[in-house]
């Protein structure tokens, strides 16, 4: 079962002929992902590494019956590529691109509302259902199939968590990188909801960061709705204050968005917290034994 992607996923890569697009498409295909096509405007009709290329996403979906897209388009044109995928009614859009202007993402967010698409990212490592399907830039070999769902705002920190699990022979159902940008398509709660419904997932790791209220919103949701155990770590307890975000950003919520404040609320909501990123594997092992 898992969530979002599985053996039946049919992937197209947007920006397939670029260096990054090519490399990671092949890596995903080698892992077992069913790559059915790619899009690069102006290169329609050609075949790239054995994969048919189309000029538009619309055409690619029509011809290949793709149901997921992975975007490797440079930041200035990435939002447009997402909008093209929304227009082509792709159910799942995974945008890897880092550095998309926030103003562009605000428009994308509005376009997603009422559409048939779900967006993961941008600025994310992608999604993997171990043993079945990999869409993104994560190293496939550190994963193993199993029953722990992983959701994270960060890339390498997710690999760290997954590696700790695999070392303990605890497999993963699906790992989702929701991305590190302030405006993204899918948040923690969306993923938690899917993991709660997924019979293959027995526990969830949620890796958050300082800034915003996504983790505390998720904590309150977990308390009200989730029966499966959740283990969480928040990165940035040692980060200097105000270095990365302007002061006014936190006013909206009227709450502190420091790691300390988030840990506190997570704990109050009954979530098992890992104060150290090195404890994630151990904490999951503990909750699974209960």
């Amino acid at each position: 079962m898992a969530i979002l992607i599985n053996r039946n996923t049919r992937l197209i890569t947007i920006g397939i002929t670029g260096k990054q697009g090519t490399f990671h498409t092949l890596q995903s295909r080698d892992y077992g992902t069913n790559v059915v096509g790619g899009v690069t405007p102006g290169k329609g009709g050609t075949v790239h590494e054995g994969i048919p290329v189309f000029d538009t996403t619309y055409e690619a979906v029509l011809e290949t019956k793709a149901n997921a897209a992975m975007i490797f388009v440079p930041p200035p044109a990435a939002a447009d590529a997402i909008i093209e995928c929304i227009d082509a009614e792709l159910p799942l859009i995974i945008c890897i691109t880092e550095g998309i202007p926030v103003g562009d993402m605000i428009k994308v967010k509005a376009a997603l509302k009422g559409s048939k698409s779900r967006l993961i990212g941008p600025n994310c490592p992608g999604v993997i259902t171990p043993g079945e399907c990999k869409i993104g830039i994560m190293p496939g070999h550190i994963h193993m199939p199993g029953n722990v769902g992983v959701i994270s705002r960060s890339g390498t920190l997710t690999y760290e968590a997954v590696y700790q699990l695999t070392q303990r022979e605890i497999g993963q159902s699906t790992c989702v990188g929701i991305g590190g940008d302030p405006v993204n398509g899918t948040n923690f709660i969306d993923c938690l909801e899917m993991f709660q419904k997924d019979p293959d997932t027995k526990a969830v790791i949620m890796i958050g960061e300082i800034g915003g209220t996504a983790e505390t919103d998720a904590a309150r949701w977990i308390k009200a709705n989730m029966t499966k155990p959740v283990v969480s770590f928040i990165a940035g307890a040692a980060a200097p204050k105000g270095k990365r975000m302007g002061h006014a950003g936190a006013i909206i919520s009227g709450e502190d968005d420091s790691a300390e404040a988030k840990f506190k609320i997570l704990q109050e909501c009954g979530i098992t917290i890992a104060r150290s990123p090195a404890e994630l594997g151990q904490k999951i092992a503990e909750v699974l034994k209960k």
């Binding site: 070999h141 040692a238 302007g246 909206i252």
Partner: protein, 389 residues
């Protein structure tokens, strides 16, 4: 990216947002020239640095004669201005803005930010102008009125009315305030701002609505389409090391500890600082070498870390996914040899080609302490910085 108040006000003028007449000066003589051109008999001399709280720090003064303009400019230019946002060392003032005076009737607050939780732009106003808005939000949140603006509709008259009436404005002043808000929204969106803050926004005895101060921050990711904003960058306001790091695709932030950190990925880099602190250590920096680090970027990273003389040990923490551990190991060895790294080096490698990477480190002839996992790495780095084993 940040700009100075005088630059923010130039941008506001482009969007028909009412500001006072003024001009920027680098010397007291220039300041007098600006004041003469402005005319009148009262002027305000304002220090131009990228930090708030300038008035309280003594960087904003009222002058009642041209002589006074000269005298105050002399005092302010070159001073080390300390505010609650500069840190105790303060910031050197290199420019002043000389503005006309005005008859203030009332001070308000107006700001625009992104509300991350809903992915929309939010404009907010408050009757508590001139105060720190964080304080107002904390103590009297009911005095802040907000409008979320949908990307499809943009800012409409309805938003303007809500905010204007919330400030208790009427008649012609209300209309002027609505036009002010509309202009500020247009500026925010078309220039890809990340923060626009007018504190205070004032009404004058003559019924005008003016931005007395103005702070604009811009989305770094959107600068590619705003060369005119990029041209406003004042590098004297930015950390030389951070700028240098940026040129090589490295993300570096200087901290006040003694353990230099070299990590791949922002999340893992933050988590590395956290775990060092949990083990009683103190990181000297945040440094993310990014996903595509090469031998050159690793070397540059070491150079930047070692410029900080507080550094007593360096922790390299790499989770090689797409980036292979042997390539990183070679980069570390070469950099350590070429730069003659004298401080203890703790290296934790994990991921693709990890055994090859560890072999390269072991056979390098360098005194490198290998670490088995994240916790082990943190412990060893903390010990090394204390001059332990």
């Amino acid at each position: 990216m940040n700009v100075h108040e005088y630059q923010a006000k130039d941008l506001m003028r482009e969007f028909n947002i009412a500001v006072l007449k003024g001009g920027v000066a680098n010397t007291p003589a220039e300041a007098v020239e600006v004041a003469k051109k402005l005319g009148g008999n009262i002027w305000v001399v304002k220090a131009q640095i990228h930090a708030g709280g300038r008035g309280k720090g003594g960087g904003v003064k009222l002058a009642r004669s041209l002589d006074e303009v000269e005298k105050l400019s002399k005092e302010i230019l070159g001073m080390q201005l300390v505010t609650h946002q500069t840190g105790p060392e303060g910031k050197k003032v290199l420019k002043v803005l000389v503005e006309q005076g005005c008859d203030i009737d009332h001070e308000y607050y107006c700001g625009i930010v992104l509300d991350r939780s809903v992915g929309k732009i939010c404009m907010m106003v408050s009757t508590e102008g001139g105060m720190e808005i964080e304080k107002v939000a904390h103590e009297t949140p009911e005095k802040i009125v907000k409008c979320h603006i949908d990307a499809a509709t943009g800012f409409t008259a309805a938003h303007g009315r809500k905010l204007g009436y919330a400030l208790g404005l009427k008649g012609d002043t209300l209309k002027k305030a609505m036009a002010f808000f509309d202009g500020l929204y247009k500026l925010y969106v078309s220039k890809d701002c990340s923060i626009a803050e007018i504190n205070p926004l004032v009404t004058t005895k003559q019924g005008e609505v003016l931005a007395l101060d103005g702070k604009l921050n811009f989305d770094d990711n959107a600068l590619f389409r705003h060369p005119e904003i990029e041209a406003m960058r004042d590098i004297t306001e930015e950390s030389a090391q951070e700028l240098e790091a940026g040129k090589y695709g490295l993300s570096y932030i200087s901290l006040d500890g003694n353990i230099g950190c070299l990590v791949n990925g922002a999340g893992l880099a933050m988590a590395t600082l956290d775990i060092l602190k949990l083990h009683g250590g103190s990181p000297a920096n945040f440094l993310d070498v990014g996903g595509g680090a090469t031998k050159e970027t690793v070397q540059k990273a070491f150079t930047i870390i070692l410029q900080d003389t507080n550094v007593k040990a360096i922790l390299v923490n790499i989770f090689g996914g797409i980036m292979k551990c042997d390539i990183i190991a070679n980069g570390v060895v070469d950099a350590a040899k070429e730069l003659g790294v004298k401080v203890p080096l703790v290296v934790r490698l994990e991921g693709t080609n990890v055994s090859l990477g560890k072999k390269i480190l072991a056979e390098s002839g360098l005194k490198i302490t290998p670490a088995n996992d994240l916790a082990d790495a943190a412990k060893k780095a903390v010990e090394a910085a204390k001059g332990g084993k």
